[in-house]
Each structure stands twice: as C-alpha cells, then as structure tokens.
Amino acid sequence: MTPSASLKSTEPRLKVEGLKTYFFLDHGILKAVDGVDFHVGEAESVGIIGESGCGKSITAQSMLQLVRGRGQIVAGHAVLRRKQGEMVDILSLDPDSAEMRSVRGDDASIIFQEPMTSFSPVHTIGFQIGEMLRLHTKLSEAQIRERVIAMLGRVGISNPEVRIDEYPHQLSGGMRQRAMIAMALICHPQIVIADEPTTALDVTIQAQILDLMRDLQDELGMSIVYITHNMAVVAENVSRVYVMYLGRVVETTTTERLFKDPKHPYTQKLLRSIPHPGRPVERLEVIEGSVPSAVDPPRRCGFFTRCPSAMAGVCDAAIPALTKVDDEHWARCFLLSDEKEAEDEWSSL
C-alpha cells in the first residue's frame, strides 16, 4: 500500500488521544502507556512498532478496555466510529457495561499474539468462534455453524466441517492463528488490532498469514493496526507508522519516510538493528542496553539512558514534546525542537 492511502479518508475510524494506562503496583506506578495519540483512517493500515515492553500490547488492550487487576486507564479518549456511523468515546464507557461489550468483537476486535494460549484448551474451536456470533447476532445455532465453517474455509483451514469440532491442541500453531483470525473477523469488525499476529510463527507461515490478512482487508474493508517489532511487516503492510518507546510515541510518519529519513535517535537505531528490504545487510547494530523500567519513571526523555546524542542538562531535565518536523512527520526529541511536554495531574505521580 502507498502512503497516499492515508489521505483517502477524512474522518478517522479510530482516534486516540492522551491514552494513559498505569499499573498500580506495590513498589510504584508502572506507566505502561503514558500519553499515546494515534489515529487510523477508513480501511487504512497503520503500524505500531517498538521493542518488547514499550507498551504496545497494553495500548491495544486499552482500546477495548481489557486491562484488569492493577492496571487502569487513567486518562485519554478513543473515539470510534461504530458500524452504524455513530461516534463513541469508548474509553468513557464503563468497562463492564453492555455497550462496551457490544463494541468488543463486533466493531473492533483484537488478533492476539499467542496462538497457543489465546484459545481455551477445553472448548472446541467452533464453539469459541461461534460465540462471537452468539453474542453479536441473532443467528440460529445451525446458521452459526454454517458461518463458522465458511469462515474457517475462508482463512485457509482445510476440512473446516471436521476442524470446527476439534480442540486447539489438535491444530498446529499456524492453523490456530488462522482460527484466531477467523474469530476476530467473523462479525466483520470495522477495525482490527493485530498484536504481533505472526511473531510466534515460522517465516513461511508468517508470510501466508499476512497475505491472508491483506486479502481479507481488501474483501471486508476494515482498518488494521499492526503491532509488531518486525520491520518487514511494517514495510509491506502499513501506510503509516507509530514508533513507541517507554509508553510514548516518539516518532510517526509515513512508512516511506520512516525508512528513508528517520528523525528520532531511537528510530534510527531501531532501523539499523534489523534487516529490512531495499538495503543490503552490512552489519546489524544492536541497541545497547535495554528498555528501562517504566515504574515511577523520572521526568526526562525516555531514551536518555541509551541515546548516543543525549545532552546532559537538557534531555534529563524535561520530556520533549511530540512536535511537527514537517508535513506528516512528527518526532519527540530535543535535537529537533525545544518544546517540552506539558505537565498534568499524572506527571507528578
């Protein structure tokens, strides 16, 4: 897909602003997502990339208010255009309300990372996929079965009439991920968040699954958010990219520009640390160090501890704001702008 795809829609399908999801732990507050903005257009694909632990999955789960236990969405809006066209701020809904539940799976669904553990091991694939239709449609059991078989066939599972009555442990990893896709898409949601949909699979299967998702997107016209740390997935599937680091978006632009002209030191390092298409593999760099803990983070640039260009007294004195570099290109770094992120009631926590 070309970057211009992002221009074809005026009003986004989903617009997220100021999302903060914190875990209130015994030893402090873990700011897993600390002020994330992103939007996804009609039938658009965007990518969210970043190392493990940057808050990508929690961002995804926050969209459907799935975070439980000590986790809590403390701030933010996520305005979704529902199937009938009405705009709802899904984060303003009570997580246990019928309205929130009616959004889950029907308007927006998630393809989870782990095909091994994402299904209940003691219920058949057919029961678990059919449950989607049971919850969101008034179809009869016979019609549900028919639809599930058709969907299993559509995602490339052979013998769907037999497979529908099998249990997850009887399916291979790739088949299970296909079943997961079938489940996520069976109600034709308008937006799908794919949280590392292929990470657990081997390379050939990865490619097949991504092809399948592209085909289904053409057919059903849904928007997709690809969450990944795989640059190849980004390069081939999305029009725009959000780079996340330590709970924040540090850079966002079109896929083309991101590869050609990354502005943020983290993005630059990230691109040099992974092989990607169009550039011969000379020597892969590793990003030294690891993502610091998000528990009670100091007010400084999140990348300060690992940044080769870090400026003492500047980068550790405030948090840089996400500022416009030029059209369709934003980054969060004091090398590019002096602008600081404004403090709010959560900053001092």
């Binding site: 799935l66 236990g69 539940r101 989870f112 209940s120 091991p121």
Partner: protein, 328 residues
C-alpha cells in the same frame, strides 16, 4: 469416551486385587493369631486344652493352611458368600456389622461432601474474582479457623451452645424414642434435628481446603490469555469466569473427589465418637486397637474399594471436563 471409561475400568481389576491382599495382610499382621489368644484365655480360665484340640480349632479357622490358601479361602468366602469372617469382639459376622454401619456412613459422608462443594466452590470463585477484597479476607479467616479447630471440638462447642439455649441435646442420628421406630414423618424430622450438626462440622472441616485450592488455581487461570480473548469478544465477566477459567480450575478438585470419601470417614471418627453416631469410623478405630482383625480387614477393604470406585468416577468426570485428558 466409552473407550476411555472401559480402559479405566480395566485398570481397576489389578487395583482391587492389590487392595484385597493389603487387607489380608492387615488381618495377618498382629503377632500371634486369634486362636493363640483364644486358647490362652481358655487356659487362664483353668481349662485343659490339648494340643489336638488346639489343632482342631486352628483347622476350624483354616489357620493350619498356607498363607496363599488362607487368602484364597478368605477371598472366596467374601466374593461368593459375602462372608467377611467373624468379629472376635462383637462375636457376630463382620458382614452384619458392615451392613449396619457402612450405608449410614456413606450417606452422611456424601451429604457432607455435597454441602462442602456447594458452599466451597462459589466461595472459592468469589475469593478469586474479588481478590484482596473484604470478602476474600473474611473467607480466608473463616477458612483458617475451619482448618485449625478440630471437628470434634467444634461439634462439642455447638452441641453445648445449642443445649444451653434450647435444651435440645444433639445425640446420634435419632433421639432415643425413634431409634427402633419404623420410618415416619416424625422420624425424618427427628433425623434432621440431629444430623445437621455432624454435616455442618464435616462441611466446615472440608470447605477450607477446597476454597483455598480453587482460589489459587482460579487466580492463576484468570490471568491466562484465553480469558482476555473471551473478554475481547464481549463475553460478560461472570459468564467468562464460569465458562472458561473455572472449567480448568476445577480439574484439581475433580481429581481429589475420589479420596474425599476416606478423608471424610477419617475425619468423622472422633466427631462420631463425640456425637455418638453409629458410623463405621469408631468401629474401625476400636477394631484396630483390640486386634479384631477380621473386622478391621473388612472395613479397610470396603473403604478401599469405595475409594477406588471414587477415583474411577473422578477420572471419568475429569475426562468429561477436559478433552486433553480424554484424548490422551
């Protein structure tokens, strides 16, 4: 499933044989045989017992034969005639004593187990779903008290309080006027007036463990990805808990169902003594102390056989509940 059941049933046979051998060993274990003590008693009373007479008595009880022959004889009588030998102390057939006491013991135990599950399972779910809530802490406390206070003490305490306040003395299954009476509505009411106490005490004793086990396994399961998946589909929270994680968290409980019966029977020995209940527990205790070995062996055997069948049933339930077990 049928295949699974048949396979499990097949495994039971060697188990049952092993149990019978162990029970036989129990009978043979005490030093000196029953005849020795019998003859000694006669001699102490001044009787002259010749070696020939002693031999005859031995032959009468089959004690002159070899061990395997004695075992075969004992088993043969049990299997073909329902004859478990005679109780030395009660001077009655063991089978008659078993008939008197085993059914009431089983009914009492099963009732207590049913109440235990009925209460413990919802409370375990509540504890896990509302982890660290006032509920959770209260249930933990009650559970600990249930574990720490011995059943007989609880029984005595409640018996005393009830007597002090109402003048009603809980005693046995029936009050004396009803013990020999034929069944009637009044007799049933009398039974209920007495039997609630042992059921209550046994239920409290068993609940804590089940609630704790369920709370722990359910807490584990609640964090699993498949629970989030179901939530992401729009499944209501309570339906989700009951449909998915509970199905898996219940497995460890199902697998202990088999030996809950002997555990409850063991737990009720002292309770039965205190409350004067005609169950099998106190008899087993006495039989072991007085070396009434045919009686002890018979009881051990019956309880073991019941346990084996209990395990069979819990295996079947496990297999019904979990396809991974069924398809092994």
């Amino acid at each position: 499933m049928l295949q699974f059941a048949l396979r499990r049933l097949g495994i039971l046979i060697p188990f049952l044989i092993a149990i019978s051998i162990v029970s036989f060993i129990v009978i043979q274990l005490p030093p000196g045989s029953y005849v020795d003590s019998y003859v000694n008693n006669l001699r102490l009373q001044g009787n002259v017992v010749s070696a020939e007479q002693e031999g005859n008595i031995r032959a009468m009880y089959g004690l002159d034969k070899s061990m395997p022959e004695q075992y075969a004889l004992w088993m043969g009588k049990i299997v073909f005639a329902g004859d478990f030998g005679s109780s030395f102390r009660y001077n009655r057939p063991v089978a008659a004593i078993l008939m008197e006491r085993v059914p009431s013991t089983i009914i009492l135990s099963l009732t207590a187990i049913a109440f235990t599950w009925l209460l413990a399972v919802p409370l375990g779910i509540l504890s896990a779903v509302k982890q660290y809530s006032v509920w959770d802490h209260t249930l933990t406390l009650i559970g600990l008290v249930g574990l720490a206070v011995p059943g007989f003490l609880l029984a005595l305490g409640i018996m005393f309080v009830v007597y002090q306040n109402t003048g009603w003395l809980v005693n046995g299954f029936f009050s004396p006027p009803f013990r020999e009476a034929p069944w009637s509505l009044a007799k049933v009411l009398d039974l209920l007036k007495n039997v609630w106490l042992p059921i209550l005490v046994l239920t409290i004793g068993g609940m804590a463990t089940i609630t704790r086990v369920l709370r722990a396994t359910l807490l584990d399961e609640l964090n699993k990805q498949y629970v989030t998946t179901a939530r992401a589909k729009g499944v209501p929270e309570m339906t989700n808990v009951l449909r998915y994680p509970l199905r898996i968290a219940i497995n460890p409980l199902l697998s202990t169902l088999g030996w809950m019966l002997p555990a409850v029977v063991g737990g009720e020995i002292v309770v039965s003594k205190v409350l004067n209940l005609p169950t099998i527990g106190p008899v087993l205790l006495e039989a072991s102390i007085t070396q009434d070995m045919y009686l002890a062996g018979g009881i051990v055997m019956i309880l073991s056989v019941l346990t084996v069948f209990g395990t069979f049933i819990s295996d079947l339930l496990l297999a019904l509940n979990d396809p991974r077990i069924r398809m092994e």
